[in-house]
Symmetry: C2
Subunit: 206 residues, 2 copies
């Protein structure tokens, strides 16, 4: 095929996008560069103009996907500074729920779990920029609720971790909802999560 009229520097992005699909489907070792190339409408050699080898491509793909998901989280999470902290938490929780169940996020999570233990620096980057950041945000809201007397007096960071664990695990399960005994509609799951989490957080009925 004749070289497609080159677009300036979108090439690497197209390749990364294709890499995301193939690595996401088959894992690092299972994915083939020929398939990535084909999906990106590019010859295999072109990949090597932008990435030194398969591992590096994988790394860059993960890295950029994390960056991207951070950006999308940032725009999604822009908080309406409501009066009611519970409402604020519900808002955050709902948006997080939808974000986590994005195909993109699902794939990222699977790769983080399944492949990232061989890339400790990437794991650290993920833990720091995604998990820790999210936890801080959640903790700050919990803290606000405590300060205003809406929530029970607990460690906000611990509560935030519980929140993440609950949301994360259930989001993973929704991919096989029937198998794992989840309700039919994902909104019901969210409602259950919120109900449970808020019960743990609210002050005992005085």
């Amino acid at each position: 095929m004749s070289p497609s009229r080159r677009k300036p520097e979108v090439r690497p992005l197209e390749i990364l996008e294709a890499a995301f699909h193939e690595f996401g489907e088959h894992g690092l070792a299972g994915a083939r560069l020929d398939d990535i190339a084909r999906r990106a409408n590019v010859a295999k050699g072109t990949i090597y103009l932008y990435f030194p080898n398969k591992d590096a491509l994988f790394r860059e793909m993960i890295h950029s996907t994390i960056i991207e998901s951070l950006a999308s989280a940032e725009t999604t999470m822009a908080s309406a500074d409501d009066e009611d902290t519970e409402a604020l938490l519900r808002l955050l929780a709902t948006r997080w729920w939808h974000l986590l169940r994005t195909p993109r996020m699902r794939t990222l999570l699977r790769l983080v779990q399944g492949e990232l233990h061989r890339f400790p620096d990437l794991m650290a980057f993920y833990a720091d920029s995604v998990t820790a950041r999210g936890r801080r945000l959640a903790a700050s809201i919990v803290e606000r609720g405590i300060a205003r007397g809406e929530f029970r007096d607990t460690d906000p960071v611990i509560a935030a971790r519980m929140f993440q664990g609950l949301w994360l695990s259930h989001a993973m399960w929704t991919e096989h909802a029937a198998l794992f005994g989840l309700p039919d509609t994902d909104d019901t799951v969210l409602a259950e999560l919120l109900d449970f989490f808020l019960t743990a957080l609210r002050r005992p009925t005085a």
Copy 2:
């Protein structure tokens, strides 16, 4: 090397054990049969006396690991039928916590997450025999607590799911405890989990 004096039918087990290590470390596509053979002190050909191909070996390995973990769960969970349901739950939770953080369980969980989506029948088997079974057990305890008036009146199955999500996610995180901002000792994490979960479950202070 001369053929090691053959033991009767432990061979497949040795091979499965070696397969567990290699697949656990490198994934299905990344693991090499030569390495599995070497680890099992066996020539590569021997593997093919017991398993038709790599995929089948992987399947069998997963299958037998699930079976094995069920057995170990069963012996571990044999419930002391305490008076106090909370104590019973604490006992179950503690044992579950230790079980989940076993290297063997960790690896199994990673493989389930990372590779099993291409083996739907195995995923179903896992979901059914491990997840669902555990959930039923937890739910039955919660139900007992509700019946005896110790716990708040909630759906026991939902509570059991929350329990699993909490324990599972935190167990995964403990593998990189520092990265994910967990306390230094895993026992502290367990205490936090129990504290949070039981707070959600106990009746509001009357």
